[in-house]
Symmetry: C2
Subunit: 226 residues, 2 copies
DNA sequence: ACCTGAACACCGTTCAAGT
DNA sequence: ACCTGAACACCGTTCAAGT
């Protein structure tokens, strides 16, 4: 005897891990990290909390699975046909854009160093180092430097997205930050106060890529020596 | 009429922002990120929740203040007498060691891109770039690359510390990770499976410094060109 | 001005009970 | 085997009331 209701969706398909993960992604995208609760999830899936626990162990596993899904999709649209440095840039930019679209992924990556999504990132980045003529012994260091940099940027993207001002008006957000920076004591903060002027209109994506290029330049300087 | 109790400390000093922040740091160090709750804090300070809210706006502000305190202490033991690259390494290592001792700081840094602790890190890192002959226009990119790298490493340190196995036995922890990595399909994960052998016995601090040196090498390659 | 602590509106997770 | 949903043990935050 299904009720006729406007909001409550009748469940047509059986519950499954995949359906739960999809619903979780939709919630996270729509409401942000705080939007994913068992209450919201059970409402959306028209089920009880216990049903979700039947398919996934706990909230951490839901978050890991959603992150895997987005990272996997982001990494597998990248082709491998380009020169190694370009391929590496494409991988990094693919990740950046995915986290830009799903900022909660950025926060999640920093919480799971050795889980599936991170291992996949490690592989897709590290796999290009041989072609870049990075010595075998330096490849672990090189890959982890690149990965840690990506994770750092990702976490900051996630934090910025959490800021309510940022969601509405990015220019206003940057202006506020720039204001705070230029209000600091120039005697104690000569660098930051000078930087404040450069903040408005700056491009996160371009800056991200500049960092990748800087690390690649360091690798090139090292690789040349052997 | 003070009760005579073994555990409950009678409060001798008045409550203050400083006392609350110190108590919060002790809780975070002793119990980890999940140990800081208003219940635990009010018990330790022998007060009520409202008293804490009188001195600090909310939990985020407590976390920001504790992070400021640790970062400030870490950055201000570093002298400036060395060559610019060495000074920069000293700043980075000071941060690494502080986060190693207080892993919750690592998690917190990734949540507050433009707050006091991060601005101070930005300043202490960026302030050496002029001496490193990094062109003015590249200093913003260079500083943010270094800072993002540090934040990435910091967040992974925090995540590792959260892992219960890690707390007890680091070798066992690395062995488990290495096992998971070598269990992957070498066809899909050639890089990661090969890396598994290098994981046991590897030194996080050394690896962190190698990343800093890699970025510095990139900067040197860029600076030389002008 | 500063503090108390009960009450409120949430959480994630468990589990007896249903089918 | 799979699902339900009330109950449990927590949270951060508020606020009327005290001093």
């Amino acid at each position: 005897m299904p009720r006729e209701s406007v909001r409550a969706e009748r469940r047509t398909e059986a519950l499954s891990r995949e359906r739960i993960v999809q619903a979780a992604i939709e919630l996270l995208d729509a409401e942000g990290e705080s939007g994913l609760t068992f209450r919201a999830l059970t409402t959306r899936l028209a089920t009880g909390a216990g049903a979700i626990y039947w398919h996934l162990a706990n909230k951490d596993e839901i978050l890991a699975a959603t992150t895997d899904f987005i990272v996997d999709a982001a990494l597998n649209v990248v082709g491998d046909e380009a020169a190694p440095a370009d391929a590496l840039r494409a991988v990094a930019l693919g990740l950046f854009d995915a986290i830009d679209a799903h900022p909660w992924v950025g926060a999640q990556l920093s919480r799971e160093p050795w889980q599936a999504a991170m291992l996949q990132i490690f592989e897709r980045i590290g796999g290009h180092l041989e072609a870049l003529r990075v010595p075998q012994k330096a490849q672990f260091f090189a890959a982890s430097t690149l990965v840690n940099y990506v994770v750092g940027v990702a976490s900051q993207e996630a934090a910025n997205a959490r800021n309510p001002v940022h969601g509405g008006d990015r220019d206003a957000f940057l202006a506020i930050i720039a204001g705070k920076m230029s209000a600091l004591d120039p005697g104690k903060y000569p660098f930051v106060t000078r930087l404040a002027a450069e903040l408005p209109g700056h491009d996160d994506r371009e800056q991200f890529l500049a960092g990748i290029d800087l690390i690649l330049a360091g690798l090139a300087a090292t690789a040349v020596k052997r």
